[in-house]
């Protein structure tokens, strides 16, 4: 149903998410943004159960901002990812676990770009590329085949387009458009929305 993808380059991270907000068989919204800005250089992409996504993502977002207010500097992407994972883990065995799948993408001034994959069982893995959703089954092999650690930005966007075309061709559900963002040392940049017409 929902789809997230992240590709890390040598000095940037490219992330994309679909724009559909669905309720059973109905698309309620076609332009829904699933990315949450945690700080100037960190994005959290969040999919999963209806209310849990926004509640959990906003909770993490506000806590990251609170850290900055209290301490005067921002959390690094790695620290933010581990903080997020810890919260997921704490609630996992409570009465109300959060059923959310996440990608956290960020740029650290000392360590460079980073992409972190987290799932609802609170696993955490730093990966050069990652995807969530049923679409991941179709596109991870494309990423395996064509990914190189020294991708340029245009090549990364082309790789993303390849994945979107594959979804358009083979995925049973219609995902007409994707929000695309790029994070580098200058911050978060909005790229052009990726829209695919009918096959």
């Amino acid at each position: 149903m929902e789809y997230l993808i992240g590709i890390q380059g040598p000095d940037f991270v490219l992330v994309a998410a679909d724009n559909v907000a669905a309720s059973s068989i109905i698309q309620m919204k076609h332009d829904y943004d699933k990315m949450f800005k945690l700080s100037e250089k960190i994005l959290l992409l969040c999919v999963g159960e209806a209310g849990d996504t926004v509640q959990f993502a906003e909770y993490i977002q506000k806590n990251v901002q609170l850290y900055k207010m209290r301490n005067g500097y921002e959390l690094s992407p790695s620290a933010a990812a581990n903080f997020t994972r810890k919260n997921l883990a704490d609630y996992l065995r409570s009465r109300t676990p959060y059923h959310v799948n996440l990608l956290l993408a960020g740029y650290d001034d000392t360590d460079g770009p980073g992409l972190y994959y987290m799932d609802y069982l609170s696993s955490l893995a730093k990966a050069p590329f990652a995807a969530h959703g049923y679409g991941a089954y179709l596109t991870l092999s494309i990423l395996d085949r064509y990914y190189r650690p020294d991708l340029s930005r245009d090549e990364a966007v082309d790789l993303l387009k390849k994945c979107a075309e594959e979804l358009n061709k083979r995925f049973i559900l219609n995902l007409p458009s994707f929000t695309v963002r790029l994070i580098d040392k200058e911050g978060i940049h909005d790229l052009e929305k990726l829209t695919l017409g009918a096959k």
């Binding site: 907000a21 309720s23 068989i25 109905i26 309620m28 919204k29 829904y32 159960e49 209806a50 209310g51 849990d52 926004v54 509640q55 909770y59 609630y91 409570s94 009465r95 109300t96």
Partner: protein
């Protein structure tokens, strides 16, 4: 949950019985001493954090799960006959409501049938409730839950206005409502509300007890919503005139009531604009369809 930590819920023994109370206004009535929350204080505990709603109100009946049998809390479990109240019939969620934005404001429309399983419990229910002069809420889901939460929302919005001197924006209203509904996620409460209103522009926000909160240009909710979407999506444009928009909304609900067994009877319609809301325009769907039959026979 985070809210549990704020309320220190985990430290106290859990009550399984769902307490009902006579009216929302009687927040200060002391509770019977069997309420574990009030073992030490005679006044019902409310909290600024919870907007003055009594704290116990946020404790939904716990789901029946075997994991509770082994916990030490089970010693506090009351005997089985005071478990959650049995429902007299299957709660059904039959309805068609819709809302959309166009150049002339916001239209909210809904059918008026309340169904309980296969029975039409009431043919003339108001599913659209005004919250204030520039906001209405359409409700779908469980009728009782919707009525309750509409009342709570009206109260909270009015209290905010009295305390702060200005009206809460519709986006903030939706967020407030969503936060109030969040503790009940996972219980059987089913509430799907669409806030339709005007503040610095037309606003349409869908709030659901699952936790979803979506702002958009057109929403239809309920068992008849796919049928309504079909008609709406074909003809909806920003540049509709007021008359066209009203007739489109009426047509969409009518087609949904035709196909959906759990929607029917009449169509309530509200039009909200920047100036004072133009009020309820009631159309009788049954009579309309009878008219068209008579027209055909004559010709």
């Amino acid at each position: 949950m985070a809210l549990e930590d704020v309320c220190s819920f985990k430290e106290r023994p859990v009550q399984h019985k769902w307490f009902s109370f006579s009216s929302l206004g009687d927040a200060a009535i002391p509770f019977p001493t069997s309420d574990c929350y009030n073992l030490r204080c005679s006044r019902l505990e409310t909290s600024e954090n919870n907007c003055g709603v009594p704290l116990h109100f946020f404790i939904p009946p716990l789901p029946h799960s075997s994991s509770f049998i082994n916990t030490p809390l089970s010693s506090f479990c009351p005997p089985k006959n005071s478990m959650t109240v049995q429902k007299p019939f299957r709660l059904a969620h039959g309805t068609t409501t819709l809302g959309f934005i166009f150049q002339g404001g916001v239209i909210a429309a809904a059918d008026t049938r309340a169904s309980a399983g296969g029975l039409v419990a009431c043919p003339a229910v108001h599913k659209i409730t005004p919250i204030h002069s520039h906001l209405v809420v359409t409700s779908s889901g469980s009728g009782a839950d919707c009525m309750l939460w509409e009342r709570i929302l009206i109260r909270e919005i009015r209290l905010y206005q009295l305390r702060h001197g200005h009206r809460l924006s519709i986006r903030a209203t939706a967020k407030l409502l969503s936060s109030m509904l969040h503790p009940f996620k996972g219980t059987e409460m089913c509430v799907a509300l669409t806030l339709c209103g005007w503040d610095n522009g037309p606003k349409l926000i869908y709030v659901c007890s699952d936790g979803a909160r979506l702002q958009g240009d057109v929403f239809s909710v309920g068992s008849g919503s796919p049928y309504a979407y079909g008609v709406l999506d074909r003809e909806l444009r920003w540049s509709l005139s007021k008359g066209e928009a009203i007739s489109l909304a009426r047509e969409a609900v009518f087609r949904a009531t035709h196909r959906d067994a759990y929607s029917g009877n009449n169509v309530d319609l509200f039009h909200i604009t920047k100036s004072l809301e133009s009020g309820n325009v009631l159309f009788d769907v049954v009579h309309q369809s009878r008219k068209s039959k008579r027209g055909k026979n004559k010709s």
